[in-house]
Homo-oligomer: 634 residues x 2
């Protein structure tokens, strides 16, 4: 309730409503569920990308910028010299009213000033490679008014990493085309299209404009920024065509509004691809057909409303698969709206892009994506199926796997590599969760490549088997699983030694002879091994079930013999064979992960060790704010 | 003269003087000649680093920021609520006077407002890992005044690349210590010092402060930037100690000035290292001795003046080695001041950091560094010697070499790799230039590693020999040198084919069977081969001289037979054996590079082809703005 001044949940419309734009941090929403995504903050900051936040970034964003949340989809009103934005930023002109509604796959930002209201609805329509922006200006007063409306986005030169590093290249490559007719005005960003790219971006509005800019320098003016572009001060863009330097897109409309009248404009920020042999309309002129078809689809307010209704209907459907009615408003809200919504977002992006993850440091996680499946598989089983196949395709024949993969290429990420020894087990858990929801055992017979090499394809069931066996093929001196680079705790790099500043402990070579073992992976093996046994029995592979059950039994015994510390489960053995998470340790005597997973795996449940471990958790890790991960208090 | 309004050359003080801060682009100077460097613009934007702009970045800079030139070494005056900066930016408060003097290794920025003058002298003293800033406030009026003075730098978390990518890490790691006593106030930036680093940075002032900030959020305030920090508006910092997030350093002094009085403060922005076993003063408290010694050295204005005089004296010496007195003021200026100064800058940085090179995309160039030698070897032969050894150490045993190397590690850069087939020859040219200036033949006997592996060390002369032979060991079907990835024109990637957007043509694998040949390298071979022959004769290696001369003769013949197009030298043969830079081509009929180098190599000088080629250059490439590189006009 302390934060009440900033906003509230509106459960009836499934929205979070922000009423004060100056939130302590940008509060953001994620638009798009399929292949086109946008991050958008409550002041319209953020960026868009196609599939991959690193390799197909459409618009520029400045992480770690000052002021924070720098770059976005900005609209400006110049009302007789008073310049403001409906989202407050970037002008920061004080507004008469402000509201941001973050809903299911859309964000609506409304501001008013001196009797003019501007409302912008941002959403990514279903099956569309575009963000649609429906902007409505309304005259709240009794007299006719004329205002200037400006849009502004800054193009990213596709690769978000080189975009901020390689200026020798960037400043020479930017290319723009403009298309202006009675039906629309479109700025095309076609950098590198002449070279090897078959894709471009477009930012359009469904009316002819009075003026436009495509050069940042022309639009902003020297020594200025997005808070006070010179074009907006002038009330007019300069019809600049960027060639190199910093390509942008800005439309300028002059809008007459009778008393009480409102007018709506549709902006489309889209991404298009052409087949190699249909790249060009004529020499040097890009083939705009896919963009024109996209603009046609959203040419009228009615069409946009219909697309928006489709999106809402889709979310109504997704959220109806499982609902809860309790007496607790917050529990209902979490279970019925925001938790499934978050699960969908994390399924889409697997933490590859957020306001703290710059979208260029990593791809989708192997482990993460399998975990994310668990939260949404009941909503979209068919997409979970596809994802399982994608993930499994980045696995190696010995069951190990790339820790991450790039969503654009679906190829494993060599930078981070392999060797996180819990990773393979998660594939079993994701798959059994999918089968439990869908009853679709046929997925087990799908032929799935190893290391993205079709010639090495085997059934998905084969993948599950090698996943399980990867653990028992890699046991340490206590018969417990070798941890490899790390397990669920990515920072528990027990075999990785480095004295070089900046060198990643995760990607440095393991020191030879490492015997560090993870009791967490052992507990996972017990738990997930039983899932595997049940699956085998279900599909008539009784021999395989019996074989696996015997391994699980052995693992349980090893845990109780070597992985239990008297009152709780150990966390690990380190490189030198010393205990981690033991009463013997000065710090870090008990860790939560191995307690949770060993108990979920049933280890010591019948013989009492499990209950004692949970009592130790209660004694040593429980606080009024939840359970701590590690006991470090004296 | 068109730009006269922005500034002028002051030859008597060897300065360029800027009189209007709003230059079309930031006009910058480079401070430091040895191991500590700063880039500084005419509005005090820029950053500092120790040796390597990628791996040891001290302060943060935002390339491609808006407004441009975002981040620097800023001073602010709060004079009874009027806030301004002597360099105009970042406040952009209109000044009563402004002047920036970019001199030899220093920059002095002076501004005044409402009867107060603030002047900041920035320089890196000789043999010092620090930028010293001498700030003088002067009361120009007849009444006593009191103003608040603020400093502000933002720390970079050492690696300039991950600093802008990996926020999951960055936001958790920032660490600061503060030391305040009667003699100075110092903010220590010690991020990762606890972990694997043995170095920290410090920003100090030689007086006790009234207040300070080390947290960016506390200093700037939410939704603000460097143009209007909340601390400055408040007239006081909040004594914040950063823990994670964004560590900065800001000092705040309250300065009383009698009529006509001036006061000077010395700020030191420094870098320090400790031996591994002397890292700590006490548990968690860094060993500050090297920083304290540094601050002691610059504790008084007199000491700073003396250090500044030493720097001037050093430049007087450097610029006295070769001077010219002509009737042309501009020629004198270029030869006596700015060209040698530029040569020193490019020697120091080899284009690894500028306002267009972000300092993280590349290291020092093998070819570039050898070329840069030619311009300054008469000024500092002993440093040229060291550089030659460093460069040669990144060479491979077959004469090929890394195209770039990192200045911090002096190791070859694997990202860009090898295969630029002109590179090896430049080492010969750099070495012979050094010997011609210094007479120091002993460098040829220095043992120099291959691929930085001491066990593979051979004499430098051996390096020169394999450099030369690398060309003749890699000849194409016309007996001309294979180009490899490229030659002097880094973009002439004739063997490199890629359809993958964003893939570098320079680092993609060459297509197998490539026979592209470079006439430019052939001309270089003729020219530099003769240097090598002369060197061999000089040191009594007549047999080697004769062997090399025979190869050079053969190459000249091959050029004239297969590399001449009737009226000029060809540029190359491509992957398929087709001519590049020929009258047969529709575009790009003649290129400048092969004309220049073949003629300098003496090819066709006696038989007339050289003169004809130069006539063709005059006919086809010469313009009133100089010689074009390629003939493309119809």
């Amino acid at each position: 309730m302390a934060n009440k001044p900033y906003g509230f949940f509106d459960d009836s419309s499934r929205e979070f409503v922000i009423t004060n734009p100056a939130t302590p941090f940008p509060w953001i929403n994620y638009l798009g569920n399929e292949e086109f995504f946008s991050l958008i903050s409550n002041t319209a900051g953020g960026y868009s990308f196609y599939k991959d936040a690193k390799f197909r970034r459409l618009t520029r964003y400045r992480y770690n910028g000052v002021p924070m949340d720098n770059g976005g989809k900005y609209f400006y009103i110049n009302d007789g010299g008073t310049v403001w934005s409906p989202g407050w930023k970037p002008c920061k002109t004080a507004l008469d009213s402000y509201e941001c509604r973050h809903g299911m796959g859309y964000t609506r930002i409304t501001g008013s000033k001196n009797g003019i209201e501007a409302s912008a609805l941002f959403f990514v329509p279903l099956h569309t490679w575009a963000e649609v922006q429906k902007v409505t200006l309304r005259n709240l007063g009794n007299e006719a008014r004329t205002v200037k409306l400006f849009s502004f986005v800054e193009w990213c030169l596709w690769n978000a990493q080189t975009d901020m590093e390689n200026f020798q290249r960037n400043l020479s490559t930017g290319e723009i085309e403009l298309e202006k007719n009675d039906a629309f005005t479109a700025v095309y960003h076609k950098t590198e299209y002449r070279e090897r790219r078959n894709h471009y971006a477009v930012y359009s509005v469904n009316v002819p404009v009075d003026s436009f800019d495509t050069s940042r320098d022309a639009f902003l003016g020297a020594y200025r920024d997005a808070s006070n572009p010179v074009a907006i001060e002038n009330g007019k863009c300069s019809n600049s065509i960027a060639s190199g330097w910093y390509p942008i897109a800005s439309h300028q409309l002059t809008v007459d509004l009778a008393a009480g009248e409102s007018k709506t404009f549709v902006f489309v920020l889209g991404y298009c691809e052409n087949p190699q042999d249909e790249k060009w309309e004529s020499k040097g002129i890009i083939n705009k057909k896919p963009a024109e078809a996209m603009m046609d689809r959203f040419a009228t307010n009615e069409a946009v409303e219909a697309a928006f209704a489709d999106l809402k209907k889709s979310w109504d459907g997704l959220l109806s698969h499982y609902t809860l009615e309790s007496n607790d408003e917050k529990l209902n809200r979490m279970v019925n709206i925001w938790n499934p919504y978050q699960c969908m977002v994390t399924f889409n992006m697997s933490r590859s892009a957020s306001y703290f993850e710059s979208g260029i440091g990593r791809g989708m996680g192997f482990r993460d994506s399998n975990q994310d499946l668990l939260g949404f598989v009941h909503q979209i089983p068919e997409r979970a199926r596809e994802r399982i196949i994608d993930i499994a395709s980045t696995q190696f024949e010995d069951g190990s796997c790339y820790h991450q993969y790039q969503p654009l290429t679906k190829k494993g990420n060599n930078d981070i590599g392999s060797g996180f020894n819990d990773d393979p087990l998660w594939l079993i858990l994701g798959t059994t969760a999918y089968i439990k929801e869908s009853g679709d055992f046929s997925i087990l017979d799908e032929m799935v490549p190893y290391d993205n090499d079709e010639s090495k394809a085997q059934t998905l069931f084969h993948h599950l088997k090698v996943s399980l066996d990867h653990v028992t093929n890699n046991l340490g001196p206590h018969g417990l699983p070798l941890i490899g680079r790390a397990d669920w705790n990515d920072c528990l790099n027990l075999n990785c030694f480095s004295n070089t500043p900046g060198e990643s402990f995760q990607t440095t070579e393991n020191q030879a002879g490492g015997v560090a073992e993870s009791v967490f992976i052992a507990g996972m093996y017990a738990m997930i091994g039983k899932e595997y046994v049940a699956l085998c029995n279900q599909i008539g592979k009784e021999d395989e079930a019996a074989r696996a059950q015997a391994e699980v039994d052995k693992m349980e015994q090893n845990i109780l013999t070597h992985g239990y510390d008297g009152e709780w489960f150990l966390r690990a053995y380190d490189f030198y064979g010393n205990k981690i998470g033991s009463n013997e340790n000065e710090e870090g005597k008990i860790f939560i992960e191995s307690q949770g997973f060993c108990v979920m795996g049933g280890v010591g449940v019948e013989t009492g060790e499990a209950e004692k471990a949970l009592d130790s958790v209660k004694d040593r890790l429980d606080t009024e704010y939840g359970i701590e991960a590690i006991f470090n208090r004296i």
